[in-house]
Assembly symmetry: C2
Homo-oligomer: 354 residues x 2
């Protein structure tokens, strides 16, 4: 099954665009349970990897050794908008690790937050690495290197011990094989991981229920999930999809957006995971995809959907702000009749909780 229509974009009463892709829903044993489109649709994990990339810092005791706060852990998992709250959390992590902004090797781009971007221009300053949406992740990587005694200058290299450990974690959680998983270079310069939609869902299922993992790793996963739910804005920015989902539904999930149309959701209570790839990389309809998936899985109430209508059924507005069109999800998840088939590629199920 190829990629299928996920979101239709209309103008007036006629179709203007279509976003195709795939959604996979995996249970706590790693089995594909629901899907639409090709669960093997390929992608790079991009920033949806951040909760996995933060594990070495916490699991090793590094976060405790440095006295990192929950806000600071949340921003290590975040793709932030460079609002003041984000910059101060990132600076604090670096300071606790005995470093400063000069250690960040993520490259610079303008703040995602419009007001922060305008303030920077007004001040006559150019964006620096701290404004990069990945600076929290990079600060966390640097902090992990400091507490593990690894070199900080080369922390982005794929053969650096931190990046090797992260790649092993990505494989352990997703079921991908390290020998065959392709790497790419992420927008921020660190390795990123070529996976399938089903593998993203499997990784987030293990994030949702880490009970079968070694206890220090399981506790690290739970702590990172709690931090993201406790500080939604730190994972993204005010009013953004990832923030809003955590604010509204943090009692049952945590989630992480990735560039180029990737999304992962850890359904904590159920121990399931959702993976999404919009084939064309455009995330404008991602709220519709995630909320419609949750609706079809009966994991969100009608009143919650009403409150999130601006994300579930986004409008298209013209430059005056007038509504001229709409986006809506157009897919139906199909139940996978023999979920054992998920193991056909030789992926071992992770040990279910006792």
């Amino acid at each position: 099954m190829p990629s299928v229509p996920l979101v239709e974009v209309t103008r007036g009463s006629s179709r203007e665009c279509l976003h195709r892709g795939a959604v996979a829903v995996v249970d706590r044993e790693g089995r594909l349970r629901y899907a639409t489109g090709d669960p093997d649709l390929e992608l790079f994990l991009r920033s949806s990897a951040k909760p996995l990339q933060a594990i070495p810092l916490v699991e090793s005791g590094g976060a405790d050794a440095l006295g990192l706060t929950e806000e600071e852990l949340a921003v290590t998992c975040g793709s932030h908008a460079a609002e003041p709250v984000h910059l101060s959390a990132v600076r604090s992590i670096l300071s606790k690790a005995g470093l400063d902004e000069r250690a960040l090797q993520c490259g610079a781009h303008a703040p995602g937050d419009a007001e922060a971007a305008a303030a920077l221009v007004r001040s006559g300053q150019a964006p620096t690495a701290i404004h990069n949406n990945c600076s929290g992740k990079h600060a966390g990587m640097l902090a992990a290197c400091r507490t593990r005694g690894w070199p900080v200058e080369t922390y982005r290299a794929s053969d650096h011990p931190l990046q090797r450990e992260i790649a092993a974690i990505v494989c352990a959680f997703s079921g991908a094989a390290r020998e065959t998983m392709a790497l790419g270079t992420d927008g921020c310069g660190v390795p990123t991981f070529h996976l399938t939609v089903c593998e993203v869902a499997r990784a987030f299922a293990r994030l949702a229920d880490p009970s079968g993992l070694p206890s220090r790793r399981a506790e690290a996963v739970r702590r990172l999930g709690r931090a993201m739910v406790a500080y939604p804005v730190l994972t993204s920015g005010t009013g953004r999809l990832n923030t809003v989902l955590l604010e509204a539904l943090g009692d049952r999930l945590f989630c992480k957006t990735g560039a180029e149309g990737v999304y992962g959701v850890a359904l904590v209570g159920r121990g399931w995971g959702i993976g999404v790839k919009i084939e064309d990389g455009n995330s404008r309809g991602m709220g519709a995809v995630i909320l419609e998936t949750l609706r079809q899985l009966d994991l969100v109430t009608a009143s919650e959907l009403d409150a999130l209508a601006g994300y579930h059924r986004p409008t298209v507005r013209n430059h005056e702000g007038r509504t001229v069109g709409a986006m809506r999800a157009v897919f139906t998840l199909e139940q996978v009749s023999s979920p054992e088939g998920a193991y056909s590629r030789g992926v071992a199920p992770h040990t279910p909780s006792a």
Copy 2:
């Protein structure tokens, strides 16, 4: 035939995204000659309509009555980046029409040109309607209303005589039927037109060879095409795709980008037209689509393609500016074996030149 893969986006050596859509190539008799994907793929014409929307101003003698220059005609057909050269051309049109910026009803957005946008923020000013990429089109519409004695306050309404005349022109050029063609509201507030990829190609074929049209209309089309070729930057912005194509290939074509992945090319010498729709609305691979189409039609030389390699085979860069991926066209145009089929929907061919 549904939409087909047009552009693949890779990171490292693996696929990250795919942009699907359709391309249609129509000859001077309005017949579909080459295509990939569904030539009936639907779209809104958006800013690719601008050369058509400018016709009433020129055809009626209004442009001459007001003494509009070739630069000013080019910006009425343009989607500009709000560089100083654009703003001064738009202001000049309005002034010649006895109006000023307050007459523009296109809504405001920040300048497309990064330097112009930063300069505006530094000056402490908010964007206004003049910065809207469509302000040249709107100034031209207002100028047409002034010279035709039509009301200027209501120029955006679909039942305004100007908009009715434009809709009739869109139908006459594209072959769409006025009774069935759906309208939407464009980002700038004027009507936009729901067409197919083949109809876009047909409209641009008639722009390429207007010889079968009434002489005043044919001369208006030629004059607008000449203006776009003479002033490429006025149609878009420095270094942008539409500008670059006109600069490099203006001896054989003129062209116009539209929002949400639309493009039209008028192959002037041959009298043919090209229509493109990227189904998902993302235009980042449009250079690859247009240049690959021209390559397959043998309308661009190898050395020209080399010089335009940054548009034909764009790179994906990370925030440091390092190349981490690439885009490349992945389609093959197919010759239509019985081009008479293009008339199956009852569209009359336009009269070929003598």
